[in-house]
């Protein structure tokens, strides 16, 4: 018996420990051992190897002769290939897939593994993963030993015991980790061998083993391999080897204290993602030279030299790119000149020699950029659009969504993103839809690329804690195309620190905050009408039961009929809500006692000056600490709304902490609540909207303030799930970390439930831009991403406060009316309005069509017109211009025809009230037969969306107001009415279609649509 092993790796990987384990057992078996080691200089991160020979006869040479090794056991894949000449005919390569990337130009890892896998007898194992699973990444060498044990003519139990002895001095825990590592390594190797036997490819088998856990691999036998029929098993996923290579590339930059990634590192990373083939490239470090052989391997007649320096981002502008003929002397000279040109102004790392790519169809629009980046509010995002140097220009000059498609990577599949991308101009050109273009890339190729980038973003553009550096941004711009394949021509990446998600808030407490059973108020003055006292009285006035209302105040028995308690601890009952109206400086202490008391579910912090102003950061810090302390309690501790907020108006909860005097804003507390909620970071935004929309009467209004604890997404989620809410109006300036993502998710759920979210995002200033930032940050800034993500999730994103009001009001009023289609019916008594309404049917983000009336409808219309003697003046068509001669009843009858026409899905009823024929002035509208009397009835009975428009001055405001009070949505400009209705309808119809699409298969009947013909309205 004789077994010869080459043990290989990189200095520090512990290959001598492997040798020692085997030698120990061999010695005990009275075998001869020869074990040549490498000491000294080569251990400093260099290649190391050991020759190990065991035999039952005398051994002479300490070195194994070439062709006589039974095994090459390598803890590093590239290193295994250095020793193949030692391998015998029946030799086995036992190789860990984890690359040690402390060198330049480390080849694509799967290419190396392919070379290993080409050996008929080989084993590839992800030793790092298994070692981690065993308890320590340091045990990767023992994983390799375990794997080798499968082919050693030694008893594995003795080997395992020898491992245990080697680590005995380091304590029992280390011993157990290494025993486990030995078993995992052995079983993983056996599983790999069996998998190959079963016909799996190396990738497929590794992918299967990647999915196995400690429990699968620590038994006495390896798990049986599956059938490797399912090719999807390995598609579109990084292998363990690739994930490690990726990780180590990032780590290398990080440890060099470098944030930007070099172009070739980006190539390597995207290459690992699969589906993307970079051009041939060689990185030539500064002061090194490319070899003739390496240059000869480049295809074509020319090569591109690109400067690699972390402070040069725009190479073209910086004169950092040279195209040269593929001639050794020329390349060498140009290399030196390129470096010399920049050596004094930039930190030059070297030069990238890249293949010159002959492209299909060069020219405008034929370049694509794809990038991912970590955003603070929305987590990882992906963006794709027209690439090249014009990327930013195009993005600013083109409509959002047309230049660049962008989405939250965590919540978007590649297929969904491709659908978004299909809306862009880039797709039109790449897919050959634009004139003069032919398709240069397939959807499948795009899909593979998007999938890769999305996967990258999900795994690396997030807060990874101690796992490794976070990727702030990584993009390829541009991709060129050759033979329908995507070829990156430039790439850039940057490490950064991704936003950390705060601890989740216990949402049950938010639900109770909206309808508290008991309330306490802190900060009520007994002598003056301060905010606390106004709030106390407001709550009382709302009808909140006084027996469950408390004031926290020392030395006072009661204030305004409400009993006082000296401290929170003294409350006779737990309260769902504590309103804190104390001065800012007192808030940290109050927060601590709130958390300590265990008696408070939620608290509203009214005061400002807690973090948002200069000098108050310390107070904020203390409050955050106190709140975090509460999170450690079993129930998550109390939740806090605010500070710097107005709190909550809750009609179902019968309380109001807004401190706007009744004289300034009529809260109409007695009016029935409508199924709408306003959620806003700014309290003033809410009261301004309420003042404008005086009959909105929302069931809930919540002002968030600084979101020190409860975030916008928390409130949107809690309010959105309420059965008494159909519409949410949301205003936000900024999100807390990753709350934008949570918000978008909440919106998606709410929209999927058939509710409407109207969303205004303040802060349009470009963010995330800096000289160092890539294109992705410029064209997919936080604001852009926010709007795109919210719109993708189904929110109605508005750009003006007016539109916000209109859509909130409209959605609230129309929610009960089924929206079946986009065919608009329009009526007016003024010609310009009918024309204007027709003009407004197509807008940037909606698309209506004017309904074509059926003959039956026309006939009815003709009859009605005749009845009102208008048939000579009015054409029976849509849009219907009923002429200024039309009376209230004529108008009503005509409108009814439109409402009852099955070919009309929604109606805008517009009128110019200055006609003498109609009752429209403040005196007239109270008379019987006025439209103010007629329209509400028609509206109530209508089975389809209807809006009314009254285009005129303040004299007619009472008319509009009266109609609004009756629940009719009223606009003051016809085009705005059409636009608002158009946006609303598009969103509703889309939801309806989505619903029918999903319900088709489930056989759940839709809620019965209203009959096509409305009940005739009695007059």
């Amino acid at each position: 018996m004789e077994q010869n092993l080459i043990l290989a790796g990189v200095g520090g990987q512990g290959i001598l420990t492997i040798a020692r384990g085997i030698s120990t057992v061999a010695m005990r078996r009275n075998l001869h051992v020869k074990q040549a080691e490498v000491h000294g200089m080569s251990q400093r991160g260099g290649a190391v190897q050991s020759h190990l020979r065991i035999a039952d006869h005398e051994l002479f040479s300490d070195l194994i002769p070439a062709g006589r090794a039974d095994m090459v056991v390598s803890v590093e894949p590239l290193e295994s290939l250095r020793y193949v000449q030692f391998l015998s005919d029946s030799g086995v390569m036992i190789v860990s897939t984890n690359a040690s990337m402390n060198i330049e130009n480390y080849p694509a890892i799967e290419q190396i593994l392919d070379r290993v896998a080409a050996f008929p007898r080989h084993v590839l194992i992800d030793a790092d993963r298994l070692a981690k699973a065993a308890g320590s990444v340091l045990a990767a060498n023992i994983i390799a030993l375990g794997a080798a044990s499968l082919f050693l003519e030694l008893d594995p139990h003795e080997l395992e015991d020898a491992v245990a002895e080697m680590f005995a001095a380091k304590g029992d825990k280390v011993v157990q980790v290494n025993r486990q590592a030995f078993r995992l390594g052995r079983n993983a190797a056996a599983a790999y061998r069996d998998g190959l036997q079963r016909g799996g490819t190396s990738r497929a088998v590794r992918s299967w083993i990647d999915g196995l856990g400690v429990e699968d691999l620590s038994g006495p036998e390896p798990p049986p391999p599956p059938k490797f029929d399912d090719v999807d098993l390995v598609k579109n996923r990084l292998t363990g080897a690739e994930a490690t290579a990726f990780e180590r590339t990032l780590l290398r930059a990080y440890e060099e204290d470098r944030r930007p990634l070099y172009e070739h590192e980006v190539y390597m990373l995207v290459e690992l993602l699969g589906a993307i083939s970079p051009p041939r490239y060689v990185f030539v470090p500064k002061d090194s030279l490319i070899s003739r052989e390496a240059l000869d391997q480049f295809p074509g007649e020319r090569v591109v030299l690109k400067l690699v320096a972390q402070d040069v981002t725009h190479k073209t502008e910086a004169d950092g790119i040279v195209f040269v003929p593929k001639d050794y002397e020329t390349v060498r000279r140009e290399l030196e000149r390129l470096v010399a040109r920049h050596a004094h102004t930039a930190r030059v790392a070297g030069v990238l020699v890249v293949e010159f790519v002959e492209r299909t169809q060069p020219g405008f629009g034929n370049e694509l950029f794809v990038g991912v980046r970590a955003t603070r509010e929305f987590g990882p995002v992906i963006a794709a659009g027209l690439g090249g140097v014009d990327t930013e220009y195009l993005a600013t000059k083109m409509k959002p969504g047309i230049a660049v498609a962008k989405a939250c990577a965590t919540d978007t599949t590649a297929e969904e993103f491709l659908e978004l991308f299909k809306n862009t101009a880039a797709y039109d050109i790449l897919a050959g839809r634009a004139r003069g273009h032919r398709r240069i890339v397939s959807d499948g190729e795009l899909l593979r690329c998007f999938r890769a980038f999305i996967s990258l973003a999900r795994h690396f553009c997030i807060d990874r804690g101690a796992e490794g550096p976070d990727v702030a941004e990584l993009e390829v711009n541009p991709f060129a195309f050759r033979q329908q394949r995507m070829v990156p021509l430039d790439g850039r990446g940057r490490l950064g620190t991704a936003a950390k998600r705060p601890l989740p808030r216990p949402l049950e407490k938010v639900r109770r905050l909206l309808e508290p059973r008991a309330i306490a108020v802190l900060g009520v003055s007994s002598t003056a009408m301060n905010f606390g006292r106004i709030i106390l009285n407001n709550i009382k006035d709302c009808g909140f039961p006084v027996q469950h209302l408390h004031v926290i105040k020392e030395h006072e028995p009661q204030i305004d009929g409400v009993a006082c308690r000296p401290t929170i601890k003294d409350l006779p009952e737990s309260v769902d809500l504590l309103v804190i109206a104390a001065p800012a400086t007192a808030v940290p202490q109050i927060t601590r006692s709130v958390v300590a008391s265990g008696k408070v579910g939620a608290a509203i912090m009214i005061p400002g000056g807690l973090g948002e102003t200069e000098g108050s950061e310390e107070i904020e810090k203390q409050i955050r600490l106190a709140i975090a302390g509460g999170r450690e309690q079993q129930d998550g501790g109390p939740v806090f709304l605010g500070p710097n907020c107005m709190g909550v108006q809750s009609r179902p909860g019968r309380y109001d902490t807004f401190f706007t005097p009744q004289s300034k804003l009529d809260t109409r507390w007695s009016a029935a609540p409508r199924r709408v909620a306003l959620i806003s970071q700014s309290g003033a935004f809410i009261v301004s909207r309420l003042s404008n929309l005086e009959t909105l009467d929302p069931a809930l209004s919540v002002s968030l303030g600084n979101q020190i604890d409860l975030s916008l997404a928390d409130l949107v989620a809690a309010v959105g799930e309420r059965e008494d809410i159909d519409v949410l109006g949301v205003y936000v300036e900024g999100f807390t970390n990753l709350d934008g993502l949570d918000f978008v998710r909440a919106v998606r759920r709410i929209a999927a439930a058939g509710k409407t979210v109207v969303f205004y995002k303040a802060g349009r200033t470009p963010s995330g831009r800096s000289a160092a930032a890539g294109h992705t940050a410029s064209v997919a800034g936080d604001y852009d991403v926010c709007l795109a993500a919210a719109a993708n999730a189904g929110a109605l994103v508005v750009e003006t406060f007016k539109e916000f009001e209109q859509l909130v009001y409209l959605a609230t009023a129309l929610h009960a009316k089924p929206a079946r289609g986009l065919r608009l019916g329009a009526i007016s008594n003024a010609g310009f309005e009918t024309v204007g309404m027709a003009d407004a049917t197509i807008g940037q983000d909606y698309h209506l069509e004017m309904a074509t009336l059926s003959d039956a409808s026309k006939q009815r219309l003709v009859q009605v017109l005749a009845t009102h003697k208008l048939d000579k003046l009015v054409n029976a068509r849509n849009p219907l211009d009923v002429n200024p001669m039309a009376t209230d009843s004529a108008y009503e009858d005509c409108l009814r025809v439109l409402l009852e026409s099955p070919e009309v899905d929604a109606v805008v009823a517009s009128l110019v009230p200055l006609t003498p024929q109609m009752l429209t002035t403040p005196d007239e509208i109270t008379r019987p037969g006025s439209l103010v009397e007629r329209l509400p009835k028609l509206f109530a009975a209508a089975g389809k969306p209807v809006v009314v428009n009254i285009d005129s001055g303040s004299l007619y405001e009472p008319m509009a107001r009266a109609l609004r009070a009756a629940g009719v949505p009223v606009f003051r400009s016809a085009d705005q009415a059409v636009r608002a209705l158009g946006r609303y309808l598009c969103q509703r119809v889309q939801w309806q279609q989505g619903r029918s699409a999903t319900t088709d298969t489930h056989d759940v009947p839709l809620p019965k649509a209203q009959p096509d013909v409305v009940e005739p309205v009695k007059t």
């Binding site: 990189v10 010695m27 040549a36 000491h39 200089m41 300490d62 250095r82 193949v84 130009n105």
Partner: protein, 544 residues
Amino acid sequence: MKIELLLGDEAVALAAIHANIGGAFSYPGTPATEIFEFIEGHARRTGKISARWSANEKVAYEEALGMSYAGRRSIVSMKHVGLNVAADPFINSALTGVNGGLVLVVADDPGMHSSQNEQDSRYYGEFAQIPVFEPANQQEAYDFTREAFEVSERFGLPVMVRMVTRLSHSRANVRVLADDEIPEGHSECLPRPDPNNWTLVPTNARRRFRRLLTMQPVLQEWSEKLPQNALKLTGRRGIITSGIAYNYVCEALGGRGDSSLLRVATYPLPVEKIRNLVGHCEEITVVEEGYPFIEKRLNGVLGVAGKAIRGKLSGALPLDGELTPDAVATALGVPFRQPTAAIDDLTGRPPALCRGCPHADTFKAIIDATAEYPDTILFSDIGCYTLGVLPPYKAVHSCVDMGSSIAMAHGAAQAGAFPVLCTIGDSTFAHSGMTPLIGAARANADITVLILDNATVAMTGSQETMATGPELLELLKGLGVPAEHLHVIEPLAKNHEQSVARLSQAIHHRGLSVIVAQRECIQTRRKAVVQKPAAKAACASCEP
């Protein structure tokens, strides 16, 4: 007897222990370091042997010689180039002779795994005219070393054991004495001979040299009769081999063939046996590790008439680099079959400074401080910091021998070069940097000396250093470095600007400046972090 798995170096060390040495002496140097370290470990456990690193190889040799004069056995070990440093006492000790057995173990580094040349120490043995053992394997390393002590005392001469990297750093089963089999004796001092023997004033020296010359035929006879110098005469093709090369010959022949074989284990060469073999054979292949020492002597000036002598000189084997079983098998005409060709397009993986190494920060500071001077010369020395020659630093312009950097800088400054810098580690400085610095200080040489004080001998595996920290600063002042031109920097990224400023200041000063870059080696730091808790616990338990 018992069997242990030992490195060649460890086998030597264990033999010395079993020979009851009184002390071991050395300066770290690959591939010899482990010899001393093994004895040091034993000494720590038993307290019976004196084992402390010496400041350099010359000192180590002299300490060993002193112990020998005093009557105890001693071993001194070093790498091949270390013997250049110790050559003075070594050559002279052959004249003085020894009292207690003195064994010099020299580990050559053919292939230059960790050295600046591949000189062959057998020449030194011949030069000093003392006996040399050349073991082929770990067992012989043990056996020969024990025998070397006997031989040393028998002839009153120092004896060399010549090792090579591959043997030093390879493990094998070795039959060694069990604890109860170790012969007693040699633990008392032998009586001292006439001290005139040791005092090499000309009259004594002439007498002692004649004594050495008269010893030569005795040594020749000893070597001739030694059974380990084994001659087997069969076929007409002959092989002469020595040391580790013998293993490759055996591996290649695998017991086959009928070549006649002489295996050389000791020097002076067993010339009669060589003559017998040459007389018997028509073609002689000489296989030896290192220089063609035997082959040259065989060839002489004219060669052997009618015989073909093959070896390194004939081109049958490469003149440089380490022997491999494949090269030997090919030379013997029985090449191994190699089913897979070596892959030659693999990216190399050179050694590099460790992550977090203080030297890296020092080199960064040097690069920035000298950016304005394209003619900067930076002399460096032997140690980890020699890796500063590699990218990304490429800052080092020389590495010649231990302690050379300061003197070379001084020389270059005298040629008018500016700026001239040199880097030297704390241990190399103690080894042989102090003497040139005294000269540079006296001359106020216009050089900037950077002493990279990482508080350890890092390259060879973190051995104890002689002078570090505040002690080193005092030492520098004592050597004559003016206090105002003696600066300390802490090489850390956060101190970069400050370090660059200090360096610039030193360069601008047209005279001697010494900058001590003080930061502990990242490797020892890591080990200390791991080991400290245990050490603390031990201390606590020591306390009454």
